[in-house]
């Protein structure tokens, strides 16, 4: 399954897709699988698995904490394939990862093993197409989606070249800042989506800061996908135990899924 499969469905339903993010291995390896299933059960259209990394420069405190906890629990890169394999089939599974982990595993080898596990593609927050030659070749060879980011600061030229390198969808970083749930979404987001649309027919996902169905509805009005990360991680960070986190996650996902369907 690829991102395109999910977007075909959501476009047919004339709504935005809901993309749920969770670091693989968080809160535990087994519970990260369980969490993904909960998200799918409650209406997530695409799953974005984070690959925990020691130096996550794009992430705010919530996701850093979750990643640290996964690593402290012994998470290894190869386990992302286990998680993928366990949940693949119902919705597209993408992995969001800092680039060093892929380089270290071997770009071609990573693409091969991830494709074999049923993965859809990669979102690469610190890899721009300019540096992505090896990844572009490998993703072509293994038929994987390639999601690069555009940002409010991107020039028209960079948006054009970035979307040209994308496959599956384009990730619009809606605020200049790290990941994290925010009270208000950015005014820059609609403008960025509008600018990006001029250069591509690919779906455009909007990330960073969404924590409620209302916000999801607001973003779903102009974006093709609403990406939620920190708010999901917070379900566990703010719960006394994992079952309570699962419960919160179910409620949050349902709220968000309702939001993208308004």
């Amino acid at each position: 399954m690829h991102a395109a499969d999910a977007f075909a469905k959501t476009r047919a339903e004339e709504r935005a897709a809901l993309v749920g993010y969770l670091p693989a291995g968080y809160p535990t390896l087994a519970d990260s699988i369980k969490a993904v299933e909960i998200m799918i059960d409650h209406g997530a259209d695409i799953i974005e698995l984070g690959l925990p990394y020691s130096d996550p420069v794009m992430d705010g405190p919530a996701i850093q904490k979750a990643a640290d906890q996964a690593l402290a629990g012994g998470f290894r890169t190869r386990q992302v394939f286990e998680v993928t394999e366990a949940v693949a089939g119902r919705v597209p599974i993408l992995v969001m990862t800092y680039w060093n982990l892929v380089e270290r595993y071997g770009v071609e080898r990573f693409a091969r093993d991830f494709a074999a596990a049923g993965g859809a593609g990669l979102i690469t927050p610190d890899l721009i197409p300019d540096e992505a030659g090896e990844w572009i070749a490998a993703s072509d060879a293994h038929g994987l989606d390639r999601v690069f980011l555009v940002a409010p600061s991107s020039t028209e030229e960079r948006i054009a070249s970035t979307v040209a390198a994308c496959r599956g969808f384009v990730y619009a970083q809606s605020v200049m800042g790290v990941t994290g749930a925010r009270a208000a979404t950015s005014a820059a987001a609609p403008l960025l989506v509008e600018r990006t649309r001029k250069h591509t027919d690919l779906p455009i996902g909007v990330g960073l800061g969404v924590r409620s169905g209302d916000q999801a509805a607001e973003i779903g009005a102009y974006g093709d996908a609403v990406i939620v990360g920190s708010a999901i991680v917070n379900c566990y960070l703010e719960s006394d135990d994992i079952p309570a986190g699962h419960q919160k996650l179910a409620e949050l996902t349902a709220d968000l899924a309702e939001g993208v369907r308004r």
């Binding site: 020691s54 640290d68 800092y98 892929v102 200049m176």
Partner: protein, 392 residues
Amino acid sequence: GHWGEFGGRFVPEALIAALDELEAAHTAALADPAFTAELDKLGREYGNLPSPLYFAERLSEETGVEVWLKREDLNHTGAHKIRNVLGQALLTKRMGKTRIIAETGAGQHGVASATAAAYFGLECTVYMGEEDTRRQALNVARMRLLGAEVVPVTTGSRTLKDAMNEALREWVASVDHTHYLIGSVGGPAPFPQLVRDYCRGIGDEARAQFLERTGSLPDVVAACVGGGSNAMGIFTAFLDDADVKLYGFEAGGDGYDTGRHAATITAGQIGVLHGARTFVLQDEDGQTIESHSISAGLDYPGVGPEHAHLAATGRAAYEPVDDAEAMAALEKLARTEGIICAIESAHGLAGALRLAKGLKPGARVLVNLSGRGDKDMGNVVEYFGFANEKGA
């Protein structure tokens, strides 16, 4: 932006425009005689440049080779770092930005950045691992005295690496009016070139001074390497002098064999850290490994990409120097020459003294004495047991 396979820009797209702007501004600035003249004047009148080239007579007698020291410890704020911050701060003004941010480990680059910010009337925020703010409380005080805001970073290992992560995060959010004044020849392009360009005066001066004083070039140029700014600063002028051997000395920490060190080039693998492809101390999965060194300034698991390239091509050699060897060199320099250098610089000197044993008598060794040791006296007391009680 690349040296062979090294360097590049492994950063969020959000920063690319700022990096492009910075690269263009830097290139234009270096081509603008008004800018270079102003920077030169600033260096002379404020930074106390050029730093002297010093022939260490007694040390030379003891070692049998000529030991020449480039005295960067005599610069304003006590290290080569003033060159970088003056250059970048002047560039910040030129770009019309009003604020700088910086990461710092032991606090030296933070103090230098705060100094430049005070001088130019820029706002300044320094990110520093919480652990480091405790260990280096006096440098925190220096920065605050200079008017900078110091933000203790409580994520990860709460040290330099995490401070750099935090600075990058903050930069994404404030890039329109803020310059990230990076402290070494690392990070995404154009930082490695830019920092090297502002530090290369070390080598340019030293090369001219050496020719004037001896009529020849040195046989060996040695420097310590953490991120590698002082080493690139002195190497650059000699890159085309094929007969001049270049040596970078990394922090061997408890000893290379113990695994507790910061010998990134010697022991690291190629990877991506803090925006550039370079050598990185990392585990099997690519997770960064914490480095260890008695020298806070060398205690970093990455290294500037140009060093990675010089190592890969063989133009420069990189070897580890452990804590004990560095501290012995620091003591030797103090006792023979009356110079207390930074523990960082002592690594370069120690490596040079080790090399000297294999050189022909009278060979000429140029060592970049990159900083003074005032900041390190706490460590020195701890290491040598020079507490008052001992002699009282």
